[in-house]
Symmetry: C2
Subunit: 314 residues, 2 copies
C-alpha cells in the first residue's frame, strides 16, 4: 500500500471523538516513526484539548488547504464521504485511497477497504494492520485511547476477548492508562460537574418510579459556564439508578420551547420507536428527538408512549 508513495494524508470524521483521534494519530505516529522520508499529514476538525497529551496532537491540521494533494489518502473511523466533512476533496484528488473502519454501514469508499464491523473501534482495526514489533509507546497511547473511548472503558458489548488482549498488549508498552482514562474520559469541568449534580438532584421519578427524567435549561447551562455539550452523560447517570427502566433528559436547544430529548432504557422498551414517533431516531436502547412545548407537556407525551409499549409487552 505504501510502495512508491511519498505523501500521505490521514482523515477522520467530523466532530472527532476519542476513537477517531486515537486511530488517526496512532497511524500518523506509526508511519512517521517507521518510514523515513514519508510526508504524513493529519487533517481533522478541532479536537478537545483533553486529547492534547497524544503525540502528534499539535501537528494536526484543522483547516482545509485547497492547494494540497497527496499520493495516498487514508480514512479512519469515517463511515461515508459526507462524514469526512470539508476534507473530503483530499480523498477525491489522492492518487490512491485506503479506508480503515468498523462501522457496519460503511460500504467502502476507497480503492482498498479494511472494514471490520465486529471490531470495537477503528483503533482496534488499525492495530491489526500494524507490525506488532514496531508499536511504540506513543502509538500505544493513541490506539489504547481510541479503544477505551469507543468501548466506554471496556464496558460496551462491542468489547471482545481480542479487544481486551489488544488493550493489554498496549498497556504493557508503559502507557499511563489510569491517567489517560481519568483525564480524557471521566474528567469534567467544574461547571459540567455542577450541571450534572443539579440535573440528578432535580430529577423526577414517574410511572411507579420505573422512569426518571430531568430538565436542563439554557439559563442553567449559562449559569455554570457550559454549552449543551456539558449535558453529555447525564442521561446515563440517570439510567444506572437502581430500579430505573427508562431515563430521559430534556435540554433546551436555545430556541424558545424547543427541547432535545435523549432517551435510554435498560428494559424491553424500544426507545428508538418513541424517538421515531416524534421525528427522531436512534437505537433500541439509546435514542433521541427534538420536541416543542413546555417540559411538562413533553414529559406527558413521552410517558404516554412508554405506557403504550408496556401495554404491548404485557
Amino acid at each position: 500500500m505504501l510502495e512508491g508513495k511519498k505523501s500521505i494524508v490521514i482523515l477522520g470524521h467530523v466532530n472527532p471523538d476519542g476513537d477517531c483521534i486515537g486511530s488517526c494519530l496512532g497511524l500518523y505516529n506509526y508511519l512517521k516513526e517507521n518510514y523515513e522520508g514519508l510526508e504524513v499529514s493529519v487533517y481533522l476538525e478541532k479536537m478537545g484539548v483533553k486529547f492534547s497529551f497524544l503525540s502528534g496532537f499539535e501537528d494536526v491540521h484543522t483547516e482545509y488547504d485547497d492547494t494540497k494533494t497527496f499520493d495516498l489518502c487514508i480514512t479512519s473511523d469515517a463511515s461515508d464521504v459526507p462524514r469526512l466533512g470539508v476534507f473530503a476533496p483530499y480523498r477525491e484528488t489522492a492518487k490512491d485511497t485506503f479506508c480503515v473502519d468498523h462501522h457496519i454501514t460503511n460500504k467502502g469508499m476507497c480503492r482498498v477497504n479494511v472494514i471490520e464491523s465486529w471490531a470495537s473501534s477503528a483503533s482496534e482495526v488499525v492495530f491489526r494492520l500494524l507490525d506488532k514489533g514496531k508499536i511504540s509507546k506513543a502509538v500505544a497511547e493513541c490506539l489504547y485511547t481510541g479503544i477505551a473511548h469507543d468501548t466506554g472503558i471496556f464496558k460496551f458489548s462491542n468489547t471482545s476477548r481480542q479487544t481486551m488482549e489488544i488493550a493489554g498488549f498496549l498497556m504493557e508498552k508503559g502507557i499511563d492508562f489510569p491517567k489517560i482514562i481519568d483525564d480524557s474520559f471521566f474528567a469534567k469541568t467544574y461547571g459540567q460537574a455542577k450541571i450534572h449534580g443539579r440535573a440528578v438532584l432535580e430529577s423526577v421519578r414517574i410511572l411507579d418510579n420505573r422512569c426518571v427524567y430531568t430538565v436542563v435549561t439554557t439559563d442553567e447551562l449559562r449559569e455554570y459556564g457550559c454549552t449543551v455539550k456539558a449535558t453529555d452523560g447525564i442521561v446515563d447517570q440517570l439510567r444506572i439508578i437502581e430500579g430505573i427502566e427508562i431515563a430521559f433528559l430534556l435540554y433546551q436547544t436555545g430556541n424558545p420551547d424547543e427541547y432535545k430529548v435523549s432517551l435510554r432504557t435498560n428494559s424491553a422498551v424500544d426507545v428508538s420507536r418513541i424517538a421515531l414517533s416524534f421525528g427522531g431516531g436512534g437505537h433500541v436502547k439509546a435514542a433521541g428527538c427534538t420536541m416543542t412545548g413546555e417540559p411538562q407537556e413533553i414529559v406527558e407525551k413521552i410517558s404516554g408512549k412508554i405506557r403504550e409499549q408496556w401495554e404491548e409487552l404485557k
Copy 2:
C-alpha cells in the same frame, strides 16, 4: 490439595467487596461443578444485594455455626486472620488450610499459600489455579466481577496485560458484562445519586481552585434515606474535575462535631502524610482521618497541611 477431602469451607474477609465475593463464589461454583460428592460451604458476612446475580449467592452462610468443622479451609482475599472476622475459628479447626490472596501484606496464614501480590485481585489468582477447560459461565461471572471491581473496571494501575487477557477469556464465556458492570459497580440508589449530586453541587473550590471539598451531614443522609456508605465515590467524583489536584470529603459520623475526612490527590502531594498528622492513614494518593470541630475549622487545618507540602515541593 483436594485429595481425601470431603468437606471444604471457603472464607473471605469482613465487609466483603466485589473481589472477595467474586473469588469465593468463583471457587465455590468451580468446586461444586467439577467435584461430585464434595461438600462445599461459603461463609461470609452479609453481602450487598447487587451481587445477588452471582450463582451461589443464596447458598452463602452469613452466621457462624460453632458445631461445624471442615477437612479443608480455603481463605480468599483476606490478608490476615483478624480479617476473617467471626469465621476465623474454621481455619483453626480445619484439618488442612489453603490461602489465596493478592495482598502484599499477607504473610501466609495457611499450610499452603498462593499469594501473588502483583495480581490485580484474588479473583485473578483463583483463575490461575483453575483448569481453564472447566471454567463455566457461572464461574466466569464470579471471577470477572471480582477482577472488574478490584481494578475499578480495568482502570487502576494494578491492571496488567495478563489481567486484561484473563478478563477477555472470561467475557468470551458469554457473560453479560455490560450489565454486570452497570448493576454491581456503577448503580446507585436514587437517594445515593441525589446525595452525590448535592455533594458536587455544594462543593467549594479553594487554594486557587487547585483543591475542592464538600461536606455531607447526617441530616442530609437521612433526608435521602442513605447511610454513610452512600458517600462512597463522592471524593473520586471531585478528584476528576479538571484542574483539581486535591479533593476531600467531610462527612459527619453521627457524633456531634465529628467528621470523617477522605482525601484524594492527582498531584505530588502525599495525602497519607496529611491524614497521618491528624491520626489517620492510608496511601499516597488516597487517605483518610477522623477530625472534630466545625467543618470550616477542619478545612482550614487540611488546607494548612496542603500548603506546607506545596512549600516543600517548590
